[in-house]
Structure formats: C-alpha cells, structure tokens
Symmetry: D2
C-alpha cells in the first residue's frame, strides 16, 4: 500500500512518518505540503526537520486528485482550521482519510466555533470519531481523537459504560508534555519558562473538553459536563490524566476492577494495573495506554491514572491503529508495545 | 541572637542554614550532629554538603544542656522518628524549638503510628501546630507544618473557614519536586527513572494527609476526610497543589474571591490571583504562597491552585517565619519575597 | 542611594531588580522603559514579568536628564545594539553607568562590527571593561563582562598571567543554560527541542570570543586566538566552562595550584578547588565563581573547570559588584554567596 | 534463531530485549539470571522491570550448557567483573557471544586491573574488540565497545587513520546522560543532585580511556594518550563527544571532510554533517552516529562533534549490529534509523 502524509513537519507528522516508514503493509510514504503554501521552491523533509537528516524526500504540492491516485489512504497531520480547508475532495470521493486534527471531531458546529474559535467544517456527518481501542471506524473519513481525550476517555469508558460513577462528579487533572503544544513558539513553551515549572493553561477552556463530553454523553446521557484541568509538564512527551469520580452507592474496588477487565480483555494496547499506578515512562514510544485503578472507600472516590505517549497513542499511533482497523490489517501492525528508554 | 540547627545536612537543613546565616536578627548559627551518631571524628559542613564549599564549620556533638546554654532557639531539621528521640529535654525546659519534622504535628498518637509507621512521641500536648501565615505559635515548641500540608491548607483555609464547599467533596491533586523526598537514595528519585516522568506514589497513604484533615476539622467539623494524591515531578524544587471542591448551593466566583481577600489581606507572603493561575517558578526561592482562584459554574467546581517552594515556605522559610513570630520580630525578617530565576 | 534599571523585563534585568531591591545601600530602584518604545500606555513590572506578581511598579519613560537627576547610578540591561543608542548623554555627563550589554566591551569598532553584525558605538574609550574579581572600574562607564567571558577569563587569568600555558593551545568547551539566550523565542530554546538535548550553536562565531581574546592579549601578547565552543544545556541557569591548555615545559600541578592561590587569595567570591571539580549547582543564586583545577602529566594538559550562575556572576551580580567597587562600598554588599537549592 | 540475554534487568539489557524482541531473524528471546544469585524463587521480567508491565517472562537459571543448547547466540549485558566469571564455558566451546561489558575489551590484563580495579579475565585473546561500523567480528566472542569509546572512536577514525592530526593534541570533552551510569543508586545520579546540573566525574580516570587509546594506537602508533573528560548531563539518554585536535601542517577543511566521506561512504548508520553540528535528539532511539565536522583555520583546530544514543549505538544496538555481522544477516536488521521524539 501507498500512503500520504500532509503536515509531516509537525511533531505528530514526524511520528507518523517514523511509524509508517517501518509499517509492514506500507510500501511507500508520500509527503505533501499544504495547499496554501503557494508556489515556492520544493521543500525537503531533511531541511524542514533536522532530526530526519539524510532523508532527502520532497514535500510534493498538495493536489487532491493526484494524491488520491497515488495513495490508498491519506493522513492529515495538519492543524485545526487547516484540515477543513483541504478535506472536501477526499470526503466527496469517499476516500480513506485519517484526520489527526480537531476539525471533524465535534458533531455540533456551534460547539466547534465556541471551543476552537474558528469556522466549523461542513460535511461533519461524513466523519466518524473513533477511539481505536474501542472499535473500528464506521466511515472512510476517520476523526482521530485528541491526545487528552484519548487518555481521559480510555480511563473513563469502563466506569461510565457500567454506570459506576455519579454523573456530575468527574474531575480530570490532566498533565501533558510540551510536544502536545506543537512546534509553534510561545512563552509557555520557552525553555527558560517551562523548565523546572508547572503551568496551568487554557483554564476551563481546553478544546478537547467538548469531544470528551460528546463521547461520555453517548455512553451515559446523564453526564452533562466534567471538570477538566490542563497542566504543562517540564517533559517533552507523555500525558498523565488523573481521573477522580465519586462512586455510586455500594461500590467496591472489586466491581471497579471488574469493569475494566470486562471492557479491555484481549485489547493488545491496554495495560490494566489494579491497585498500582503507572508512570509516564512505561508507555513512551509505544501505542499503549496504561491504566492504574484505585478506589478509596474512605472518600468514596475512584482514582484512575491513565498514561499515554501523546504523539503515539495520542496522535500518530492511534491514527495507524485506526488505519489498520479501516483496512482490516492486524491491529498491532507497525505499532510498538515496548517502551523506549529515552 | 544565637540559633542552633540540628540536621543541617538535609535539604531543609541546608535551606535553614542559608536563611539564618543572612537573618538580620541572628548573630551566630551553630550546627549540631545527631545524638545517635556516636563518637566518630568531628564532621564539617563543607565536607557533608559540597554545595557549601568553603564553609568549614563543625557539626558539634548533640547535647541538650550545652545547646540551650549557647542558643536562644533551636531548629530541628531531623527526620520523623529521630526528632522525638531528641526533643524531650527542650520540651521539659520550655525552650524555644522550631521542629520541621512530623513528630509533633498530630495530636493523636494512634494516627501518628498509623500514618508514620513509627512510635509516637510523648508530650504531644506541649507542641502547637502552626501555619505561620495564619497566626503565631501558642507554645515554645512549634510543630512546623509539612510541605504538602502548607500548600493545601493555605489554599483551603478561606473556603473551609467560610463554609463555601461541600464537606465531602475536597480532592487535592498535589505535585512535588524531588527535594521533598530528601537525600535518601531510592529508585523513585534515581535520575534515569524520575526524569521525563511523572510518578504517583504513596497511594492514599501520604503522611501529610492526617495533619491536613486534623486542621480542616478544626475549621469545619463536618469535614471527615479528603481525597489526596501525590505525584513526583521531574523538577528539583516546588509544589503545586491543585485543589477541587464542589461549591455550596448558590455560590458565585465573587464570593469565593471575597473569602480569600478577607482571609489574606495584609498577609505579606500570600499572593492572590483571582481568575489567574500561578506557576511554580513564581515562588522559587521565596517564602510566598501564590493562590490561583477559579470557579467553574458549569460544573459547580472551585479550583484553587496553590504553589510554594517546598524547601522555603514548605519547610525552612516557614520555620523562620514561625521563629520571627515567636520572638515578635518583623514577620518578613530574613525571608525573600522575590523569586530566583534558577 | 537611588539607582535606575533600563531593561528590567529581560532575565538579567529581572535579576538586577531582585538584587538591588535587597541591597543595603540602595534606597530606591527606579525602572525605565526603552527610549524607542514610543508613547504607548505606561507599562508595569508585574504585567511585564508575571514572576514579579504584586510588584506594580511603573516603567517610567526613558529620559537621560530626568534619570540622572533621580539616580546615583544607572544599570543598562538592554541588548547589544540598543545600549549604544541610549548611553551617549550619560557618557558625556560622566555619569556612573554599569552596562551589561556588549556594546562597549570591545575597544576595536571593527571587531564589534564583525562579531555583533551591528554598528559599533562611538566613544568606546570612555568605557572600561572590568572583571569585578580582578579589580575596580577605572571609569564611570563600566562595560560589564559577558557571561561566557567571565567564566572563561576567571579560569584562565592565573594561568595566562603567570605564563604557565602554551599560547596557542587554549581550548574552551563552554556550556550554558538557556537563560543566557534571553527571552526572545527561537527554535533553539523551544522546550520540545532543547529538553533532553545538547545543541552546539554559533560555531566559531560566538560574540564573547573577541572580548576574551582582547583581555587575554593584555595579559599575554603572545595569545592570538582561542578555540571556543558553545553548547546549549537543558538547564535554565548556569555556565560551565571546561578549559584545556598545554602546560609550558616542566610544569607541575603544584605550580598550577600556586598560581591560582596567589591570584585569588582574599577574593570573597572565588572558590578554589585543587584536584576537585565543581558542579553548576554549587553556585546557583550566588555571585561566586568556583574553579576546579587539575593537571594531567600524562598528556601535559591543564584542565580548569569554571562554573558560575550566568545571571548573577555572569551578569547582574557582577554588575552590582562593579557598582560596589565604583562607589567604594563593601565588595560583597547585596551579593549572595550561599547557593539556592532550586 | 533463538538468542539469550544475561542481565536483562539493566538499562542495556532492557534495550537489548526491546530490539531483539522485534528483530526479524529472531524467533525467541530467552532470559537468564546471574549464576551468582543462588536458588531463590524464579524472578520475572515484569516484576524486575516495571516498564515491561505485562511481559511475564521468567529469568531462567544461568547454566552454560543449557543456554548453549537452547540458543544460537548469547548476549551478556552484565557488569564488568561479573561477565568474566560467566563467560569461560562459552569461550571454550567457541560459542557466539556478544559481550556488552568491559571485561574482554582490553588486551592487556594489567591495564584492565589498573582502570577497572578488578581482576582481569583470562583468555583475553579469544575475544575481538569490534566497532561494528568499522568491520565485522573476527572471533565468535565479541567484545562490544563502550558507549564513550564508540562515540569518540567513530569521530576520530577518519582523522587518525588518515594522519590528519598531531598525535599528542587530542582532547575529548565527552558528555553523557545518566542511563550510562546504570541502575545502581548513587548521589551522582540522585535526581535532586543531577537535575539542572553538570557534574564532572572520574577525573582522568574513566575506564573507557584505555580502550580508546588501545584502538587509536592500532590506527596510529604515534598516539600515546588522549585527554578525555567525562561530564554527567541532566538528561536520561545520549552522548555527545566533542573532539578537538590540532591539524597537521597545511590541513584544509576539504581534506578533513574528504577523509570522513572516504571512511564512511555506504555506512548506513553514520550521518556526516560537514560544517554543521548534530544535536543529541537527532539519534535518540536509533543505532546512528551523527558526526559534525569543522576546521577552524584561525586556531588550526579540528572540532568533531559525535552523538549517539548510549543505550543503542553505545550498547545494545551496536551489539545487535555485531550480531548481524557475525551471522552475516543484513547489517541494519532490527535496528532503527529514525529517531524517536521522546
């Protein structure tokens, strides 16, 4: 198979390239520039991404027809607001797309406008939002979940689907490394400011909140909102979502653990740790999600700690997993499960 | 005035030495070894703490009578379980002691045994647990609060004292740098394990939980417990306690902010930030506590973010502040309020 | 005394403010904006530097006459190329200025143009370049040395002044934390790029090279150049300059150590460590320079390791030390010598 | 093929397991405990290495005969001093071994005793020291080079083999992340000490010095020693060796670059960067060595910057590369060349 990547110069795009270049079912990876970058000189991967020294591959001009002719699927690793400008022809052709941006995740265009402060895409119904560990895409246009949303929803799914928590009690204290904020320079991610520090940002306004609530509501319509806080860590990669919720009356730790085991048995990327807590390094470089599970009967509080590599499971890895599912390849093809000590 | 330090080689003790050596009311700082270290050769500060190169000061043998004769006050920067072995003669003589350990913080010896897994001290009634920003010590033996407890209680005091939160709803997601874990080597604080990582530890078992609950109960007897989680950050110094609680019916952001302003007006070390969130670097090197205050009316959740330097406000700085209060010195004497960019 | 700071929003300026605000001889610190910033609304310190929350001090308009009337001395913490636009009236009035920029360090305007790629200042002769640990300023306009130059020259002074090294053999492998690169955003200091990394930059082109060579030539005219390499560390603050040089025939370790002891006896900020090596944390927050000294007779190579806090000894602290010397205050006034564990 | 690992719990062993578990020519990876660990209960990989959660593989007892029967090759990831106790039967049987320890690298047992402070191995002649990028093993017992030695020798090989540098002028300023120091706890690698710091260690005494000199002498007998300094970085993984040497008379940058290109053409893991400088992140997770090459004609100094992942190219990856070469597999089999953004 041949696949294309749009937006390879970003951190998610770089990770996509690394995974797809070694994917056993992929013969060739084609790279494409953004449509809006004009007619400048051809850019090359190694010039744009010094880390890929020696990989002198051209970023070909964006042209939907050419791209569909040359590839079996295309990955969009472009920013929110950009993807929706590019995706139309692919949607109309019902061509397989894995979209890592936020543009097609929300079914409600007003919610998109409110949380993203951008113009919503049209044809939102053509896309399916798919957590890869909880099923296979139902459409050819896949809205790959956000990094925070992935960590949070995989930690909440067993609890909410089994109605184990009080619907108005969910609090998520989520922490992320800086790569999740992308390559764009900002004081928040200036080394001198970010190092040795912890910075709360986007107070009650992170754009992953609505996709989390949208999904939770599908599982339990009684859930209307969650308290969701985002903190920037002085690390490059990794997310830890620390999830708190009050248990329904009579809840026991055994029933909590049982819900997780039922939900995730035979799921190759989910690591369940009842009574233990994962750390971020356990999952770096992998497509895994490790879930620590505890119930404090003194406070009637469930605490689930969910950790992922934000660039793999939270972006490129889950995209490849969705790609595998879409083409009925082995779900784990091309996806590491052993962490890199880096 | 002359002051003595026991336990100067630990991180809190080092910080105490730095602060007291520059304190305007202190003429001399005397250092003492532990009573249980036998009759070995005299140790010197610069040999024990390479960072203090050139400060060739002896650690004199521990002898209570000599120490009381030579000093106006003594600071114990010794570990829990050690201090209670040393403090007896000072208590009996009603001699001024600022104790940075946990040995005299809990009034209930059974709670101490349960959370510290050590034998409780006797004469617990002789000590007063004193958050320096909320009053002056009532006894000559001061139990200086723990680092996590300080960050948490300063963030909760206005809410609990004004009965603004539902008593069973308090959740604290607390994060600390590694210096809080001391000099003792452990895999948790091995650089290769701790760097680029986030590690949850002492699950529902941190020994600062009971002193927090003890204090909260004094402010509001309806509070019986809190959910308190500790996470180790890949930074050296600093604590962020992210505090969540459900508001009582009809609560508004204005009433929350008002409670903080009433509680903390004219408190030189408290930095109130309504609608904003502090980061850890704002307080490093200082005796400040910065408090970010928010109320999310969608989820009816108050979020307070409390940051301190765990070695200063969370240990040595607060100890000096209690010392200042005990001797009716200027409260801010010898205590920095401008952060160090380090 | 009253002092003024121009450029307080940068990292060196912030550190200057912290030191001067606590300086025993300073009554008032006045802050000034740049002359080229136009007539916008007044800016305040706490708005420009969130770390200084609560310090709501105005940045007054830059006006030389007003500034000289209101202050006994002025510190320029402005960038190279900016200072020379501002300094003229102060030089003409022979008013005391401590200039932290590079604009008046080089006596040769052509060298300035070559290494700084900017237009050189006029009146270069009015300024004296002064390493504060090696003497007092000879003019009222003091060109405060650069951070790398300070660490390097303090490590080389005893060797070069005593003619112990072969003049063409000096190699300096210098490493710096990111605060030395300032607040300006760049990919080099983007956290995701800089963390867990080591980046060589300004290959054979760092602008501190000519001031080092200019000073070395004054000590030993046989020195024409040095190999000087700069590497960006994943730390916020601190410089380590690792200095290598071949010894003259017959050199012994004892004669090397002796040269350092002769040069630096009774220098309060210099920590000599014969046969040992300092680490960066030993000096953070202090105005010290710690010097590790070794001689390898197998390779006939002297290795000196020089560490400083780049914002204190390498900028603001040395500026205050020069200020103390200029006004014949106690040399150590307002300058910490005990490191902060941060 | 089946392969065995002894010492899988260390950082090099962990990395070996990760690489071999995904190696296309390896059917099964067997794990073995140390012979000296007695008859305790069986240990399991996931219990010993939490990062390998879910990989519940036994560490079988060490028994040479059984191990040779069950495997085609064995990797020793054991410490210096331990390997020589275990390797005898394998050497006698001429069984393929890749030894990551230092026990068989030095041909001179006295040098081993001097630098390692341990008893040298017998049968040193049975082993071949092999930099995998410079040839294939000549014996079945392969002494895999040390991490510092690999970075340094790959940077020096073209210069020394082509006689471009003055033999007594080589200075290496080498820096390493903490994983190179292993899992053993020590103050040097205690997070609170190592973070935000740079620590020079093993002054003129690092045990990789003699293997570097041994190899250089084989290339140019005029080289008798090098100045080699080791500095501990506040990062987990990666080495940068900054190599300085004086050029022979008449040297030009072109001739330097040419030597590198001749030496390394068609070497898949070597990334040559004339006039540019690599950073550590370019190679993390890969088996690459990136080499920045410069010549400063002002100082007649060549500077080569060599970066590797110390656990991959500096240990486990080079071991797999030597394994591939020994069994005439594709040299790149199982070895990543695209960096992981971690």
């Amino acid at each position: 198979m041949n696949v294309g990547i749009v937006g390879v110069t970003g951190y998610s795009g770089q990770t996509l390239f690394r995974l797809l270049a070694a994917h056993p079912a992929v013969d060739q990876v084609n790279l494409y520039g953004h449509v809006d970058e004009g007619n400048g000189p051809v850019r090359y991967l190694d010039e744009e991404v010094p880390m890929f020294f020696g990989h002198h591959l051209p970023l070909e001009p964006f042209d939907a027809a050419t791209m569909m002719a040359a590839n079996d699927a295309v990955f969009f690793a472009t920013s929110a607001g950009v993807t929706s400008q590019l995706a139309g022809p692919f949607i109309e052709a019902d061509f397989p797309v894995i979209d890592l941006s936020g543009d097609y995740r929300l079914q409600d265009p007003e919610a998109y406008a409110q949380w993203y402060h951008k113009t919503p895409a049209s044809q939102l119904n053509a896309a399916s939002y798919q957590l890869a560990d909880l099923g296979a895409p139902q459409t050819h246009y896949v809205a790959n979940p956000g990094c925070y949303a992935t960590a949070t929803l995989l930690g909440l799914a067993p609890l909410v689907q089994h109605n184990l928590v009080q619907p108005d009690s969910i609090i998520v204290d989520a922490k992320s490394g800086t790569s999740g904020a992308g390559k764009k320079l900002s004081p928040l991610t200036h080394f001198t400011e970010a190092n040795d520090n912890l910075q709360v940002y986007k107070l009650n306004a992170h754009q992953h909140i609505p996709e989390i609530v949208q999904q939770l509501k599908q599982w339990d319509p009684a859930i209307e909102s969650i308290q969701f806080n985002t903190t920037l860590l002085p690390i490059t990669t990794g997310i830890m979502a620390t999830i708190y919720a009050k248990g329904v009356p009579g809840l026991t730790e055994a029933s909590v653990v049982d819900a997780f085991q039922v939900t995730y048995q035979d799921h190759p990327f989910i690591q369940l740790m009842p009574g233990q807590m994962p750390d971020i390094k356990m999952v770096i470089g992998t497509n895994n999600c490790a879930l620590g599970i505890s119930f404090n009967d003194v406070t009637n509080t469930i605490m689930v700690v969910s950790v992922i590599d934000n660039l793999v499971k939270g972006a490129a890895g889950q995209a490849v997993q969705n790609f595998n599912d879409l083409f009925q390849l082995t779900e784990t093809a091309g996806l590491p499960t052993l962490p890199v000590l880096a």
